[in-house]
Amino acid sequence: MEIIVNGENKNIDSGTSVEGYLKTLDINLETVVLECDGGILKRDEYPVRILKEGSVLEVIRFIGGG
């Protein structure tokens, strides 16, 4: 099934949790914040939140800025 991550379409297996998907990425989970379908996800929701067809995931973190 397809989800949208940071504006890009991604194919994932149905039943994948947010945490399961994040593990496929090369990022430090401790320093990112996630929005799923418009709502901020708490860390303890990552393993239990199952991504749905068309889910919109935003993976955000701090970068340099003024």
Binding site: G7, N28, E35
Partner: protein
């Protein structure tokens, strides 16, 4: 010592973390600046090339993070970014930026006031970036801004304290700290703001794009200190006529 919302700062130079050529240059420059508060922005992670993680590059014991809401075009977007910043472990301090026009990056006063009011109600410590408007500074102070951050010139222009007279009024009226932000392009600009009685300055571009950012960070740190010392010492008044520094008496032997 400078105090904002109960937090004390020895350094009156706040620094931004954008535009540096590398994370390592940024780290070295910020350490050289002795700055204790640094601004950071929130953006999507580039999933194809995540790059350096600023949370790992900077020692958070040494640098207090002030997340900004850069990129927000209205109060609603700024509030969304504020909530994300808090959820990212950025704490509840915020440099509120609402800049609807990417060409000028000038702050929207109405949306900034609206967002400040709401975020203060939500428990954020809000430092709003604002145009150098003395009335707006009072309004922001009234709704609970922890400091006000009037601009010297548009962001990234390095033009200096073009808003000098307005900032002077803001300083004379403010009950909260005044942090001159944006446009300060040289240590002399920062010194001028401090001599006028600004409580602190925030500098990013001028350090980040300097030929030697580490040396420029040191120059800004010295300028901020010198300006503060001069303010405390009390500047002499300006006059429109010359006033001899050497005695005008005792010259009888010349003529």
């Amino acid at each position: 010592m400078l105090e904002i919302a109960g937090r004390k700062f020895r350094s009156r130079l706040f620094t931004g973390t954008g535009k540096f050529s590398s994370s390592e240059v940024m780290r070295q420059a910020l350490e050289a600046s002795n700055s204790e508060m640094v601004t950071v922005a929130l953006r999507r992670v580039d999933l194809n090339d995540p790059g350096d993680d600023i949370m790992q590059v900077l020692d958070r014991e040494k640098f207090f993070f002030l997340p900004n809401t850069s990129g927000a075009r209205d109060a609603q977007e700024a509030i969304r970014l504020a909530k994300l910043a808090k959820a990212s472990g950025g704490g509840n301090w915020l440099k509120l930026e609402v800049t609807p026009d990417p060409r000028t990056l000038l702050p929207d006063p109405i949306e900034t006031l609206k967002a400040t009011e709401e975020l203060v109600r939500d428990g954020f410590v809000v430092l709003p970036y604002m145009n150098a408007d003395p009335i707006l500074a009072l309004r922001l102070q009234d709704v609970g801004a922890a400091a006000v951050m009037p601009l010297g010139a548009p962001i990234g222009t390095n033009k200096g304290l073009l808003t000098r007279d307005q900032v002077e009024i803001i300083i004379s009226q403010a009950k909260v700290p005044v942090v001159v932000d944006a446009g300060l392009g040289a240590p002399s600009h920062a010194a001028l703001a401090m001599e006028m009685g600004a409580d602190a300055v925030l500098v990013n571009t001028a350090i980040a794009v300097a030929g030697d950012p580490v040396a420029m960070a040191i120059a800004f740190a010295k300028a901020v200190e010198a300006g503060r010392e001069a303010y405390k010492a009390g500047l002499g008044t300006q006059g429109s006529e010359a006033s001899a520094s050497s005695p005008e008496t005792g010259l009888g032997f010349l003529r």
